[in-house]
């Protein structure tokens, strides 16, 4: 392009200088693709742009760990904050989760083998008699994006299965979802099993779901309750000392 501009004799020299400046400023802007720009695109939920910017940043040789932490994760945290402030709606939080997963997929092959251990291992599922899976699926997605290793055990999970899975996978946190007044007591049953087996202090136990509350969690001997997926991440961080 420079050559074509310079060889166009009909152009006045001023015009040529102007065109060169325009060209250089474009070049300059392209190179300015920085981590905040990726983050901002992410926060604005511009899916296609976010994915292509992540790819472009990789192509330009930007540090993948930096793209992950400063761009994607920072963007997700910002979206989570806006959701808590009721600026963003649930659909936007869900969309950000999906976008985060797509970007991480692009970036994973470029990440060094060991980017450090997961923040912790979390078992997640709906208690026996409870068949709601949207809530804990959202929690699972947010926890994964926050750096946790998450094992989803499904819906209608017998109390003992939570305990067995936690032992098998050496979990740090057992997370239970209960949406009905009649199924909430099953959370207490899991705690009871842990106590009976003398392994209560090996795990943090948290609950969530429409009918749960912090008071109920406490009265059942759980370690905490979260109102939504964003809070669930904060709760896990706090319980495991990451906050």
């Amino acid at each position: 392009m420079i050559r074509s501009v310079l060889t166009t004799r009909s152009l006045s020299s001023n015009k040529i200088i102007f065109q060169v400046l325009v060209f250089l400023s474009h070049k300059f802007q392209e190179a300015k693709l920085d981590i905040n720009q990726i983050k901002e695109t992410f926060v604005k939920l511009q899916s296609e742009d976010a994915k292509s910017q992540v790819q472009a940043a990789l192509d330009e040789g930007m540090d993948p760990v930096e793209i992950l932490n400063g761009g994607i994760i920072a963007g997700l945290q910002e979206v989570g904050k806006k959701f808590e402030e009721e600026v963003y709606f649930l659909a936007e939080l869900m969309m950000a989760g999906k976008l985060g997963e797509a970007c991480i997929e692009i970036i994973t092959p470029h990440l060094p083998e060991n980017t450090g251990p997961a923040k912790g291992v979390v078992i997640l599922g709906a208690v026996e008699g409870d068949l709601h899976d949207i809530g804990y699926s959202l929690v699972a997605s947010q926890l994964k994006l926050a750096g946790y290793k998450v094992h989803v055990v499904g819906v209608n999970v017998p109390s003992m299965k939570f305990v067995e899975k936690a032992q098998e996978l050496n979990a740090d946190i057992i997370g239970m979802s209960a949406f009905l007044v009649t199924t909430i007591p099953n959370c207490a049953e899991v705690v009871k099993y842990l106590v009976d087996m003398n392994i209560r202090d090996k795990y943090k136990v948290i609950i969530g779901g429409a009918e749960t509350s912090a008071e109920k969690a406490e009265s059942m001997g759980c370690d905490g309750q979260a109102e939504n997926a964003v809070e669930a991440v904060k709760l896990c961080d706090r319980l495991l000392g990451h906050a």
Partner: protein, 275 residues
């Protein structure tokens, strides 16, 4: 499409998962419950849903208390809404008048479901059956249809009249799944084809959970599902705009002869929904 079952509006507000009602149930606040029952009747409810489940409280006693209280101020038939078969059994003992609907069973045949089914058969009352099974709520319309068909098979074989079966295909929010609305509409088409005799029941407002201006979504969704054969609605009957939409729907699907109910409602100023 035959639209053979008349549109049925069930007032959803006497539900203990709503904080105000939870408080009224916990404190046995008779007046609050009675007032809300009356109010929903005035708004045009055909039936009232009663749910008294508050954790830490005695649901068996509370639901029976609520039934007696509500029946002291209205003759509207009730939907006994509980996941505890014992609470429903006890409530049925004090229940008087027009046949109730029992809510609900699921495709995951647990303890007590047989009892609820035989209670519904013996008392010739309605029974809500939700399209979920031990694997939860499938996001595939075909899978949910299979649950619906097996529920139909099971309940009618036990002697329940098809028109007493209220299949709840489960409305899910579009906030969590872009195609939740489409899947539901497709499921409605399949149910009309495969299960024309059963009634279709839903809590339609779930569709807008998490969305801004939920009313707009709800008011748009309801005519769509009415057109596809939904006939029993657990709704906020105090939403005047919604009740006006229902009147228009009934006239449009041939359930309002010469549109007389619609016209009468107009003359009474009930269709003026600008408020």
């Amino acid at each position: 499409m035959q639209y053979k079952h008349k549109l049925l509006y069930i007032g959803e507000s006497l539900n203990a998962s709503i904080p105000k009602i939870k408080e009224a149930v916990t404190n046995h606040d008779d007046e609050a419950i009675k007032a809300l029952a009356k109010r929903q009747e005035e708004c045009g409810a055909h039936m009232l849903d009663l749910n008294a489940a508050v954790s830490g409280q005695n649901e068996v006693e509370d639901l029976a208390w609520m039934v007696e209280l509500v029946q002291s101020v209205t003759d509207l038939p009730l939907v006994l809404d509980s996941s505890s078969p014992e609470a429903i059994q006890t409530a049925l003992k004090v229940y008087k008048g027009a046949t109730p609907i029992i809510s609900s069973i699921t495709g995951e045949w647990g303890e007590g479901h047989d009892d609820l089914l035989s209670l519904a058969v013996e008392n010739d009352c309605g029974l809500v059956a939700m399209c979920m099974d031990k694997e939860g709520i499938s996001n595939s319309a075909e899978k949910r249809l299979r649950v619906a068909e097996s529920l139909y098979e099971k309940t009618t074989t036990a002697g329940l009249k098809p028109e007493n079966l209220y299949i709840d295909p489960l409305v899910m929010t579009i906030s969590a799944d872009t195609v939740a609305g489409v899947a539901f509409l497709n499921l409605m088409r399949m149910m009309d084809k495969n299960l024309p005799d059963a009634r279709k029941f839903c809590g339609a407002s779930n569709v807008s959970y998490g969305m801004p201006l939920r009313k707009l979504i709800n008011h748009t969704f309801i005519p769509m599902i009415v057109a596809l054969g939904m006939d029993a609605f657990l709704v906020n009957v105090r939403d005047q705009g919604l009740m006006a939409i229902f009147k228009a729907c009934a006239a449009l699907i041939g359930q309002d002869e010469w549109s007389m109910q619609y016209i009468t409602a107009f003359r009474e100023g009930k269709l003026d929904v600008k408020k």
